[in-house]
Symmetry: C2
């Protein structure tokens, strides 16, 4: 598969649309967006709606201790693995209707379509909704727990408000213990597929309908501090100064040149700087800057980091400064399974859709799943690149295209031995 | 004068030393410095001591509504102008013993020496102590009021704590009204001479004993704001960004190059910068920086300002940013009277002391006085350039040299028609 008997199969666009419209009512805002952060009443309500929809379709329901919950279709032989599809139903505060929700609904729709067609596949199918992908409380809470990547510290020092986390867990009937025990056995998984809006404007600009994600960029955060000598800005000749602002400024410009000149697939940002003491007439003795950079693959990541820090040190030497580089955090880049990427491209071609390889700049649950099973992502265009905004919009035609590529990729994966 | 009868005259170094040691007790700190901000009990106490010293010497006492007070010697013909000498007795919090105090004591010593020698000069002499030169409460309160440069707004929005100003004025028996009425009639002034420690290390490094100050640098303050586009630092390609940090960084480096390359007598400092929004992953949409620059003369000042802002605008263009330049404040540069500068140099030479022309980077009361009468300053070396510190130190030999140059310059000025 797909073969002459399955290549014509399509999801039911009207059913998908009805689901999408129904789901968009949960946490709907006056501005046309949705407000349903993880464990908020609106979020928990829509999860109950998802259960009800799955039950109505005669699908099996599965929930874990991290609040991840799935609809399952047994369409494979006994003892078969599960091919997982999904995304997340939570949103950022005052977010858009497509981000996450579309991926979960498309997965559900694929299950129903396969069910209706009574197709037999080499794996069972599972449509999953991961908890708090947006990290309102804990970054990637659900998929990280699912993949065994979450630690007790992540829950004890959450990115969000600890009190809100405690209240949310209580509302959802979850505990730290249940979350940390939610790891799924990877041996049961054939792979993971996620349909998502691009959240950028590259596809729209290129006029392309489907994005076959090849990598999800990783990110590394550092704090760099240049230290020079203090002094009065009106009495020490510039030739004799050790002005930390010079190092910080030269490095900030160098970051731009390094990335643009040699790392076209990478991103970097100096988003914050602070000079100390920080007055008109005092020479900046210290300049502390916040650096993040992103790369789709570990090799480029390491080379970029090396190039950046080499330059940072050169600037320190040039201006006679000391330099301290402090590691703050990271998320590793994820490489999508090459066979799945090909399957996505072939599915798009078979459907007569234009397709491009694309790197995801934003983080996704797929980043976690890629650490435990063959993983792929399908992007569809975001109008104007807008996301995390009530103005987030994707043409419905593109949503249907994406769901059909997801379906056909699921069928096409049957020809792959994903466990190898 | 000076002639064969006066060129041998010297101040009394033992008397000056006794005064200096006595004065150093007021507000003395354990670390060897002094703490006597304007109108503090220690400051008011030392002012009473100065009165008593002047009275003991049979000198006339004069006080004005800004708290400036003087010892006067009538050594000129009836109706003659006053040649003013002095500095300030107040200190910065936890400052040094030489800054200001030495200039007042040397002026007093010159009066006593001229008095002892029964010299007749074409002018009377006056040794003045200006109020709050350090601006703990109001920048240059005394000398600005004296010269008619102080405004009601300066007192209503003081640089220091308004409550502390009110309490200090009450302690000193002064009011806003009395201060603003303290302007001295310039027609009564033959000129102003000030002996001061350098507060820098140029003279020590050059191994020179006397500095004939030619200019006091002016200062201009501006706030520059670059504005670009907001965005996520992980999804917008660097080529498409309008990152305000790039403009601010490039300008900060250019300031250094412009000053070092073309304005060796000028100083500049970018002491503070703030990016907004100011997070790791947000592209800086705005970068606001605090710029001050200093020049010894108005022409260079204007050329430097032009060069800086031309570059600032070039950087805005280069990075597709908007630029706003906001004027914050200024102090005009002061040119010392060329005839007095020559008199200082000649006096030093006659005393067998090495002498250099020098620009004062720091502000002094002489800056105000230069707006109303011929003005000159004499510098002596500061060990290690330290000032505004308990470690401030000038060799006693240099203090005596400075006082003798002051005396000889006073005598030499008799040959100049300073009213022309």
């Amino acid at each position: 598969m797909p073969n002459s008997q399955t290549s014509h199969i399509r999801i039911n666009p009207n059913r998908l649309r009805a689901d999408f419209d129904a789901l968009s009512q949960f946490g709907a805002t006056a501005s046309g967006g949705v407000n349903r952060p993880a464990f908020s009443p609106a979020h928990l309500e829509m999860r109950r709606w998802f259960h009800e929809k799955a039950r109505q379709a005669g699908l099996e329901i599965l929930s874990d201790g991290a609040g991840n919950h799935s609809a399952r279709l047994r369409c494979g032989p006994d003892g078969a693995k599960y091919l997982l599809m999904g995304s997340h139903l939570d949103s950022v505060p005052d977010g858009g209707r497509y981000d996450g929700a579309l991926g979960v609904l498309a997965a559900l729709e694929v299950l129903r379509t396969v069910q209706e067609q009574r197709l037999k596949l080499p794996y069972h199918l599972e449509a999953i909704d991961f908890t708090d992908e947006e990290g309102t409380l804990v970054s990637f809470l659900g998929s990280f727990a699912f993949c065994g990547l979450l630690t007790a510290a992540d829950l004890e020092k959450p990115r969000g408000d600890p009190q809100a986390l405690a209240e949310g867990l209580q509302r959802a009937g979850l505990t730290h213990e249940s979350i940390l025990a939610a790891r799924r056995d990877p041996a049961q998984l054939a792979g993971y597929l996620e349909l998502h809006v691009e959240q950028g404007s590259r596809m729209e600009k290129a006029g392309v309908q489907i994005g076959a994600v090849t990598h999800i960029a990783g990110i590394r955060f550092f704090r760099l501090t240049y230290t020079g000598s203090p002094g009065h800005g009106g009495t020490i000749p510039l030739e004799e100064r050790r002005d930390a602002a010079w190092g910080a400024s030269a490095f900030t410009l160098a970051v731009r040149e390094i990335v643009m000149g040699g790392f076209p697939e990478c991103f970097a940002n100096v988003g914050r700087v602070e000079y100390r003491p920080g007055f008109f007439n005092t020479i900046p003795q210290q300049a502390e800057l916040a650096l993040e950079f992103r790369s789709p693959d570990p090799d480029q990541f390491d080379r970029l980091e090396q190039a950046l820090f080499e330059n940072a040190r050169e600037q320190a030497q040039r201006f006679k400064l000391e330099l301290n580089i402090e590691f703050i955090g990271k998320r590793d880049p994820a490489r999508m399974d090459a066979r799945i990427v090909s399957a996505v491209r072939e599915s798009a071609a078979a459907l007569g859709l234009s397709c491009t390889s694309i790197i995801s700049r934003a983080g996704h649950d797929a980043q976690a799943l890629a650490t435990i099973c063959p993983t792929g992502m399908i992007f569809i265009p975001s109008q104007g690149g807008l996301s995390h905004s009530p103005l987030e919009y994707t043409r419905w035609e593109d949503c249907v295209n994406g769901a059909n590529v997801l379906l056909q990729t699921v069928l096409r994966c049957a020809n792959l031995d994903l466990s190898s």
